[in-house]
């Protein structure tokens, strides 16, 4: 299992890193923390690089290194990395160029496999997509953006499961909300929910919305299998069914203390691009963390 956690600033990324590392711990995953710096106009990019070389000669770090240093300190303070071999804190000298516009430092993890810190520059979606393709990550974790298109682009173009960290409060968080339907791939979603629930020692609220349009009101074979799987895992769970519009019901059910874990849409990319999807609508409208499993 490989997890990519995208951070952007010291001010806003703490909840993302906090929940991201918990999920990484749950899966004992190889974890990479990435900061994507702002895209610089091509007109000035070379000159900015020249200026940054000059700044380094005056002991100034390139932009973004401070964010990685903050992430390093967070990991170190919470004993999430092994720092016994690092006497002087964040090893800037080990931040090596690894491809065009990509710098990386390797660290040794404690609660999960190795932790890498990466610095890239450019358009966030494009850079995350490249990184996911390059590193073959299973889950990408990042904070919710104010840009509405961002959620759409993440679901549409990032080839991994996506966890959007929104209003996450470590102290209050107490349940996972697992909306079910009878689509293929629901077992994988359930397994993700169980792993996270077990690691964080919380229960699961199974929630099935029966759409009026749907003629089949009986729970399908797949849903029964999912419930059986959760029961066998020993995780506490509740099971509820409701009638109504899927998105509305999920939003109503997802109060502030929950994390939603749901399946990505099975629609074709073209349909999804123009029509949107249930997970996208839930992601846009809910104000809790949401993991969309692909």
């Amino acid at each position: 299992m490989k997890i990519l956690i995208a951070i952007g600033s010291k001010e806003f990324s703490k909840p993302t890193l906090n929940l991201g590392m918990k999920v990484a711990q749950a899966f004992n995953a190889k974890t990479t923390i990435i900061d994507v710096g702002e895209k610089i106009s091509e007109f000035s990019s070379q000159l900015v690089e020249l200026a940054q070389d000059q700044m380094e000669s005056w002991d100034f770090d390139p932009p973004g290194v401070d964010v990685l240093e903050w992430a390093f300190n967070y990991l170190s303070e919470n004993n999430l990395i092994d720092v016994t071999q690092l006497e002087t804190g964040f090893p800037k000298n080990r931040l090596i160029e690894d491809g065009e516009d990509r710098k990386m430092v390797y660290l040794s993890g404690t609660v999960c496999e190795d932790v890498n810190l990466i610095l890239r520059n450019g358009d966030i979606i494009s850079e995350l997509r490249d990184e996911v393709q390059y590193g073959k990550y299973d889950v990408t974790i990042l904070g919710k953006s104010r840009k509405r298109n961002m959620s759409h682009d993440l679901l549409q173009y990032i080839n991994s499961s996506v966890l959007i960290v929104n209003n996450y409060d470590n102290q209050k968080f107490d349940k996972i909300l697992l909306p079910l339907n009878d689509a293929d791939g629901m077992m994988k979603v359930a397994k993700y929910a169980i792993r996270v629930a077990m690691a964080l020692d919380v229960g699961i609220d199974i929630f099935t919305v029966i759409n009026k349009k749907s003629l089949n009101q009986e729970r399908s074979y797949i849903i029964k299998k999912v419930i059986k799987l959760i029961r066998r895992s020993g995780v506490q769970f509740t099971n509820e069914e409701k009638e109504g519009e899927v998105v509305d019901q999920i939003i109503k059910k997802a109060d502030k203390n929950k994390i939603i874990v749901m399946k990505a849409s099975n629609m074709s990319p073209i349909k999804r691009y123009f029509k949107g999807s249930v997970p996208l609508s839930v992601m846009n409208e809910s104000d809790v963390p949401i993991l969309i499993v692909k």
């Binding site: 106009s41 091509e42 007109f43 900015v48 700044m55 990319p269 691009y273």
Partner: protein, 470 residues
């Protein structure tokens, strides 16, 4: 769908999303091509305007790499019948392109010479320990240096000096936000203010000289300085005042930080004989610009300097090659080529006529109105486009607006330095912005004030000072 897998469809959608501005630009270009050619405009002229319009969208939004935009500009002129292959190739390489190439390479040599620590000492000796005086020092030194060696070079040299002074004042940047803004904007705006002072101050000046030469008008290095340099001295105190008033710095005196900076500079490596020799070679280049640029061109002299630096082993070719943005050079070549086509096809004249028609005789009857139109148009464009590209595109049009081509040409070049409003338009602003110590909204806040003041000053300057020296 049609045998395509979901992954290929997703890849296609991603490509289309990333390139959406390219698709829009081509679509708009196609629609414009289908429209009938207006009276008084040749088919070639109309095609060159369409290519210009499409290219502007591409340059502003950058959906494809800059070299690809340059190639698009060149090949579309040939396929569109604007000119033949030889004509386009000839207009692609000019002295202005030589100058931009030489200037970018000279920047690599100069920045590596360790002059920054000497400059830092120089500033501190002149300015004393008052924040307002230090800001004035940064602004003045940046402006004077930029007028000779180019804004981007000076910004790269001055930025770490300014940042060190800020860091020595407080290691917590949030406590010195205003001081950071004062020092860094003094550097960035100083570079912009100075870049108009001599022809070698910026590529746009050389581009304008290139267009003036095409109209058989020549201007020497000294003449340019006489016409423009006093404006630098006029702007410096006023812009300094505006910056200080906008961002009231947290500290009025920077006594201890200055002492720390002096100690740091004293500990830095000393200047070697080779460093002095690079200064001497640059001085020779400067003399060449002053005395021989009319005969040989500024670009040729700049490249001669690069040749001497390579010959003397002051810089390695690998270093020049790695740090020179060839894409930008190709793009400026293509933009100047398109500008030349716009002029030669009569499109520039037609566009100028449209501007005159639009303002219904105001340009001819109201004093200063043509200056206002040119300054506002150039300032607006140079804040979304690069200033050199603005002059390359607008130059042929503004030169046709009024009979006095030299005055309007100089005015266009000067107004193109007013890219104060955004962090992306001028390299000096982008370099300062890349420090992370100033925000994009700071540029809008201060840029609007400095921009408005500069526009008013320039209108007064060209209408009061220029008639006096004539």
């Amino acid at each position: 769908m049609l045998g395509f897998s979901n992954i290929s469809l997703s890849n296609f959608l991603f490509w289309a999303t990333q390139k959406k501005w390219f698709i829009y630009a081509i679509f708009i270009g196609f629609i414009l091509t289908l429209l009938p050619t207006p009276n008084g405009l040749s088919v070639e002229g109309k095609t060159s305007i369409v290519i210009l319009f499409v290219s502007l969208i591409l340059i502003i939004k950058e959906p494809i790499p800059l070299p690809a935009i340059a190639i698009f500009m060149l090949i579309s002129q040939i396929y569109g019948g604007v000119d033949n292959v030889d004509g386009i190739a000839k207009s692609f390489m000019s002295d202005a392109v030589f100058f931009i190439m030489g200037s970018l390479m000279l920047a690599v040599v100069i920045i590596r010479q360790g002059w920054d620590s000497r400059i830092a000492l120089g500033i501190l000796k002149i300015t004393g320990n008052k924040t307002s005086g230090i800001a004035l020092g940064f602004l003045s030194i940046s402006a004077i240096l930029a007028s000779f060696i180019g804004e981007h070079t000076v910004a790269a040299i001055m930025l770490p000096i300014g940042m060190t002074l800020i860091r020595f004042t407080s290691s917590d940047i949030s406590k010195v936000k205003n001081l950071s803004a004062v020092i860094l904007f003094s550097i960035a705006y100083g570079c912009l203010i100075g870049s108009i002072g001599t022809p070698s101050g910026g590529g746009r000046n050389v581009i304008m000289i290139n267009y003036l030469n095409q109209s058989d008008i020549s201007i020497s290095y000294f003449e340019w300085m006489i016409r423009t340099y006093p404006f630098i001295f006029l702007q410096i105190p006023i812009v300094n005042w505006v910056i200080i008033k906008t961002f009231k710095p947290e500290y009025r005196i920077l006594d201890s930080s200055i002492r720390k900076l002096v100690i740091k500079v004293a500990r830095s490596r000393s200047i070697t004989g080779r460093n002095t020799l690079t200064v001497f070679i640059f001085f020779l280049i400067f003399l060449g610009w002053v005395f021989f640029s009319e005969k040989f061109g500024l670009g040729t002299i700049a490249l001669t300097g690069v040749f001497l630096y390579l010959l003397g082993g002051f810089v390695k070719w690998s270093d020049l090659n790695r740090n020179t943005h060839w894409g930008v050079i190709i793009l400026f070549g293509a933009t100047i080529s398109l500008g030349t086509s716009i002029r030669s096809t009569g499109a520039a004249m037609w566009l100028a006529d449209q501007i005159l028609y639009f303002f219904g005789g105001l340009i001819e009857s109201v004093p200063f109105f043509s200056d206002v139109v040119v300054i506002v148009m150039t300032t607006g464009m140079s804040n979304v486009l690069s200033s050199s590209a603005t002059v390359a595109v607008l130059g042929p049009i503004t030169l046709n607006l009024v009979p006095n081509m030299l005055d309007i040409g100089l005015l266009t070049a000067m107004a193109s330095s007013f890219s104060y409003f955004t962090a992306v338009a001028a390299p000096a602003c982008t370099i300062v912005y890349s420090s992370g110590m100033v925000k994009a909204k700071d540029f809008i806040r201060i840029g609007f004030r400095v921009g408005m003041v500069s526009i008013v000053l320039l209108i007064m300057y060209v209408n009061i000072f220029w008639p006096l020296i004539k």
